[in-house]
Symmetry: C2
Subunit: 333 residues, 2 copies
């Protein structure tokens, strides 16, 4: 299996990308193609031991930064690492693409370069959240700001397939995020989507509310990309704030500091439970080939886990199953 | 000052309502009118000492439960505690109303019985969230599922006045919740509201994101009631889940348990920081008289703090200032 990595995208690129991916080469046996500034990438690669035939580097001189307008940058910077990488994926030179850079540019590359699966109206970004009942999927986590009811139904189909295949969940539950549990609750979009989701070929459990998000009430939580972005960032921001409060809690005085030392094992487990790095990246679902967006601040561990996830994404034939469920059996040509 | 309390609404009603309000009578010198089943209320009141002339009870035989369709129940149950209480407020028999029952019924009573301020298109529910930078206001936290840009602008005006008067914040900052900081980001609603908010008579700081919610980036966070409901419940749910994780953290083994005991002072402060009960209730802004919705699970402490807040709401003339800023000086007739 060959996985392309945008070596230049992300706050810690290319060091974290290369360290994490080389670990994946050594431990998982995958082949990696790094796309980016060749000299820089090869310089980093020198730090590690790995089977050389399993790693290649493709030069791309340009980089799309976080400050550029994504769609415009993807159209104009043909030699940027993300656009070159997406082109190689489209041409069948690899099985999946992992990128941690400008989110908009990754989405635009997926949409414009890799292309949509026939029948999928809007590919969506799906993020796993660490909930009280284990990792659950939030879809759309930010790709589509304005959605139609049909889009939400397809998000449910794709999310359900992803959780079944990649997270081994039998008959995943799908909830529609709304402002109340009852069928009549919701805004115009969710009210229109509800009856369509009831008829859809997945395990629909009805409306879920904000409090269900971190409770993990549904395996797949469906919403439009505006709401999904707000939820995801609210959860991330609150995790950060609460982490600091827990730290402050132990720093009050000598007794609390000693308490913190004694509770260290518990603290570590709490941290691990809430650590986004353990859960891999966010798959863009609905493109013809697997594209995974890693967190912008990914370190080597997060990159490694995103490769683990990309490998499973490919092995479990998520895309073929989406094609079958949307097109009624047409091939993914 | 006279404050009406719906004695029957809330998970712990009427015991918590009466205990908290009697404390307010004794400590703050306010007059309280309890509306509810007279016999039950008087039975509870017997437990406490207070100046009898400052407490009265008005009988209302019916109760609107959480399971009833709010607008319909408000129209049909004319003798329910919330409808009777709202009618008394409208008629000038008291200065403010506090209720902890069925949210929809409280909103409907505010809208249909107490009435809108002239010029206010939609009253909104405003909730204070405990953020890293102290209490901040989320408006609309759930009253209006589908909004227009004009509504969001008015939410900014009302929220700004509330934070200035009740929380003593000079020139409160107002942020528009969106899926990105840049002016061009947002869904159709927020994109339409942005330029109008730039021109509005408050301290607009532009778009804010989910991560800003618990960071406390803006004093007033504006969104439609669908998004606000999802944010509020996501934060409440995550607080609950993280609270359990912190508890689990200390219960791992003898060492962590001892650690928890030593860190008790810190744990208590963490709990207090995150305790919704310290921040009072959620004002419904835009009605002709002050209506405050207390948390459904309010205990006596929460009720007491909501009365503190109701008193300040009245004393600082929030409503007159809203009237002036929306009508350009017309009286609140």
């Amino acid at each position: 299996m060959k996985i392309i990595i945008d070596a230049m995208g992300g706050d810690n690129a290319p060091a974290a990308q290369i360290e994490g991916a080389v670990r994946a080469v050594n431990e998982l046996g995958v082949d990696i193609i790094f796309v980016g500034k060749e000299e820089t990438v090869r310089g980093e690669l020198k730090k590690y031991d790995y089977p050389e035939e399993k790693v290649s580097v493709v030069n791309a001189d340009e980089v799309i930064t976080n400050h550029e307008e994504p769609a415009k940058a993807v159209r104009s910077k043909k030699n940027s690492s993300i656009v070159v990488a997406a082109g190689m994926l489209r041409n069948g030179e690899a099985d999946a693409l992992l990128a941690c850079g400008n989110t908009g540019a990754i989405l635009a590359s997926g949409l414009l370069v890799v292309g949509r699966i026939k029948g999928i109206l809007r590919p969506a970004l799906a993020t796993t959240l660490p909930t009280a009942k284990g990792p659950k999927l939030l879809i759309d986590a930010g790709a589509n700001t304005n959605c139609k009811a049909e889009n939400l139904v397809q998000f449910g189909i794709m999310g359900s397939i992803y959780m079944k295949n990649v997270f081994d969940i039998d008959n995943p539950t799908v909830g529609l995020i709304s402002n109340g549990e009852e069928e009549g609750k919701g805004d115009e979009l969710t009210k229109a989507a509800y009856p369509m989701m009831k008829e859809a070929a997945f395990n629909f459990i009805g409306n879920i509310e904000g409090r269900d998000v971190m409770e993990g009430t549904a395996d797949v939580m469906v919403c439009d990309g505006f709401v999904g972005n707000v939820i995801l960032k609210t959860v991330e921001g609150m995790g950060y704030v609460m982490g600091n409060l827990v730290k402050d809690m132990f720093m009050k005085n000598l007794a609390t500091k000693l308490g913190g030392l004694l509770a260290l094992k518990g603290v570590k487990q709490l941290k691990q439970t809430m650590d986004y790095r353990s859960y891999g990246g966010a798959p863009l679902l609905g493109t013809k080939k697997p594209v995974i967006k890693g967190h912008g601040s990914s370190d080597a561990k997060a990159v490694y886990n995103a490769v683990v996830q990309a490998k499973k994404f490919v092995e479990t034939n998520v895309i073929n199953e989406i094609v079958k469920n949307v097109n009624g059996g047409e091939s993914n040509g």
